[in-house]
């Protein structure tokens, strides 16, 4: 009797095992988490918009994968890495979390990615731009989707240097991302015959940038590169116009620049600025179709991050379908194998370091009188092929890359 019950248990566990393999979905559902910034400085760039984009991807996928429901969890990490880790850990332990998308703020992104990788789960970074995610801190289970600081700095600096703007002055945020953007841009400027003749580092979240602009002006550089982001960048651009810097012939360029920034500064003040984006809603019919669906729910047009979250979530679900399981390792393999095919990831593929390489677009902010609508702010100047935009694998610090 004892042996009989033991055999029964073994049989039962064997059966559950096989059914698990067949359906392949842990806890009978696929749970996607989004620990992000819903109330802080990145809330407009990710936040609610990203949650809407992820939910759209889930709904348009049919709400189910391999016959099991898909659930989206969101949580506000208040820009604190420890809170982000706390939320994610709880989702892992208590809610059967399978993957994380988005994550704003690099400290939170790095910490959450680490945790997810330890637990054998997938992370798709979108909002954080740090190249550490596919460099020193890369992993087989984590991906970086929409953009990174290298691509933005590199793309903008290269395009401008090739146009003959060969002397640069940097206004750089006194933070790791500022330094790395400045360094990345410098590399490509020098490779193309340009020179960086000076730079100034400012504390984060200042309001007055005129002092730095004046120093930049005094340097006589042809281009002022703003290696800062968010309200710092917006204030830099706005004040450059006020101090007559842009009208006196010096050019100003920002790097981490989103459509929301253009709207916040006012198209009139920002006109003429060139930046690199991963997605622009008014580029073609497909991008417009997504933007229309998004706008119905979010009441605004999507930016690169929102579109990236949609694309990443959809690709993740497709990979589950193709792998027949939600096991992290297997899904990661299928994510790399599977062709990425949507309006966002143009010519997209995933490299061994987890970078999703896709075409980026060099855009210029339209003069206000040419804009057809409130959101019609960019004019696509040219397409930058993914391979030119992202850091070449030969320079990679990622341990997964065999050089």
């Amino acid at each position: 009797m004892h042996i009989k019950s033991l055999a029964g248990v073994t049989l039962a566990s064997l059966l559950t095992c096989t059914t698990a393999l067949a359906a392949g979905i842990s806890d009978d559902k696929v749970v996607i988490g989004m620990p992000s910034d819903f109330s802080g400085i990145y809330a407009d760039l990710t936040g609610k918009g990203s949650a809407i984009a992820a939910q759209m991807a889930i709904d348009e996928f049919g709400g189910k994968v391999l016959g099991k429901p898909i659930e989206l969890l969101t949580g506000d990490h208040h820009l604190k890495a420890d809170v982000a880790v706390g939320i994610t850990r709880e989702w892992l332990d208590r809610k059967g979390l399978d993957a994380v998308v988005d994550i704003a703020a690099s400290s939170a992104a790095l910490a959450v990615t680490k945790l997810m990788t330890e637990r054998g789960k997938i992370t798709i970074n979108n909002a954080a731009g740090t190249t550490r995610l596919t460099g020193k801190d890369c992993s087989a289970l984590s991906f970086h989707w929409a953009y990174d600081t290298f691509a933005l700095a590199n793309g903008v600096a290269k395009a401008m240097t090739l146009e003959g703007n060969d002397t640069w002055f940097f206004i750089t945020a006194d933070y790791a991302f500022g330094y790395s953007m400045e360094a990345d841009a410098k590399q490509v400027i020098e490779a193309n015959g340009g020179k960086v003749i000076g730079s100034v580092r400012h504390p984060l979240s200042g309001s007055d940038f005129s002092s730095y602009l004046l120093q930049a002006q005094a340097s006589g550089a042809k281009v002022i590169g703003a290696a800062n982001a968010g309200s710092d960048l917006r204030n830099t651009i706005k004040q450059a116009k006020e101090f007559g810097i842009t009208s006196s012939g010096q050019k100003l360029t920002g790097m981490i620049f989103f459509i929301d920034d253009a709207r916040a500064i006012g198209v009139k003040e920002a006109a003429g600025l060139s930046v690199l984006v991963g997605y622009y809603w008014n580029r073609n019919d497909e991008s417009r179709a997504f933007a229309k669906r998004f706008e119905e729910k979010a009441n605004k047009k999507p930016n690169t991050i929102h579109a990236g979250v949609y694309s990443a979530t959809l690709h993740y679900l497709r990979a589950i379908e193709s792998a027949g399981t939600d096991d992290g390792q297997a899904v990661a393999e299928h994510m790399r194998k599977l062709k990425i095919d949507d309006f966002f990831a143009i010519n997209g593929f995933i490299r061994e370091d987890g970078r999703m390489v896709h075409d980026m677009f060099l855009v210029k902010i339209k003069p206000a009188n040419e804009a057809e609508s409130d959101w019609d702010v960019f004019e696509v100047v040219r397409t930058l092929p993914g391979n030119e935009a992202y850091r070449p694998l030969s320079e990679s610090e990622c341990a997964l890359v065999k050089n």
């Binding site: 819903f38 109330s39 809330a43 936040g47 609610k48 969890l73 969101t74 949580g75 506000d76 990490h77 208040h78 820009l79 604190k80 890495a81 420890d82 809170v83 880790v85 706390g86 939320i87 850990r89 709880e90 332990d93 208590r94 703020a105 690099s106 400290s107 939170a108 790095l110 910490a111 680490k114 740090t130 550490r132 801190d137 006194d174 933070y175 790791a176 991302f177 984060l204």
Partner: protein, 316 residues
């Protein structure tokens, strides 16, 4: 004795909680609770409002993290290193600030904490805005595996209780009585011959050391330390936790920490960005209706019920 029964109930509750609530969340809560208790020793029992306690929490968290990650010290020594950092910072801050009164004291501690923030921002080991990542958790005393969250919980609980008991002992010692007399009437304490500044300095250093302990625990629990831990808003948070729970009460800061940490942790999921607004409403309501904090107000109700005829003088 009434406090003893309370205390026992409290212990049992803490021991059982990880089987009901999520242990990692509870650990984060305990860290913040100890931080608030340490702060309360200063504000509630000495009457000093420091606005720079983030420096002790975050500064020691960075050192503890660095100790565990780079110097590869075992967890107990890393926490000790962090606590020492808090203590030393406390000595430094205290020597400069202790003679200042009221708002000037608050502002000078804020200023000093901003120096620590600036240092944390510039020093390479903190990783700038990326923070100090993937801090390892070594085995406790080389044998107890702390990667299991419930085990870790009991370790953190032990540290918390140690800190809490120190505070409890201090409050009920002659030293604590002198502190309270300073809070009530500094001039009288001086005229009684006490060297008030020395007592205040001692309280300040103890508070900083315990905040350092809390910070080191936090680093080990979350395995990540970021600049938000040294930011001035963290100094604000601890003031709020203490006030909401009840200043000058033993359990108040713990309740306050529980309220604020759970709001941060759980409400975000359901309410998104409304959380900060709701917090604001709670603060205003707190000031207007239950000024002595949750615990302070409860205690007063209990006293009132017990001594119905003396309720008038107990409010003063």
């Amino acid at each position: 004795m009434l406090p003893r029964t309370y205390f026992l109930a409290f212990l049992v509750l803490l021991a059982l909680l990880p089987h009901v609530l999520y242990p990692v969340f509870l650990m984060q809560l305990l860290c913040m609770a100890l931080f608030a208790c340490a702060f309360n020793l200063l504000l509630g029992y000495t009457g000093l409002l420091s606005f720079g306690h983030a420096a002790f929490l975050g500064g020691s968290a960075f050192i503890a993290g660095q100790a565990a990650k780079v110097w590869e010290l075992p967890i107990e020594l890393s926490i000790l290193a962090g606590t020492l950092t808090g203590t030393l910072l406390g000595v430094g801050f205290g020597l400069i600030a202790i003679r200042k009164q009221g708002i000037y004291f608050a502002m000078i501690t804020l200023a000093l904490a901003q120096m620590v923030f600036f240092y944390a921002l510039k020093a390479p080991f903190t990783g700038g805005e990326d923070g100090l990542q993937s801090i390892p958790r070594s085995n406790l005393f080389g044998i107890i595996d702390l990667t299991h969250e419930v085990t870790m919980y009991y370790f953190i609980l032990a540290l918390f209780l140690a800190g809490f008991l120190i505070i409890f002992r201090i409050i009920h010692s002659p030293f604590g009585q002198i502190l309270k007399s300073i809070r009530e009437n500094e001039d009288r304490a001086i005229s009684l011959g006490y060297r008030v500044d020395r007592y205040k300095l001692a309280a300040f250093i103890i508070s900083a050391a315990l905040s350092g302990l809390a910070g080191s625990m936090k680093a080990m629990v979350s395995q990540v330390v970021s600049l938000s831990d040294v930011h001035w808003s963290m100094s604000g948070t601890v003031v709020l936790m203490t006030l909401i729970g009840g200043t000058g009460t033993l359990f108040g800061p713990i309740v306050g920490a529980a309220i604020i940490v759970s709001m941060e942790h759980y409400l975000g999921e359901y309410l998104g960005s409304w959380v900060t607004i709701i917090m604001g409403v709670i603060f205003v309501i707190c000031v207007l209706t239950f000024r002595q904090g949750v615990v302070g107000e409860l205690e007063q109700r209990l006293i009132k019920r017990k001594l119905p005829f003396q309720s008038q003088d107990s409010t003063s």
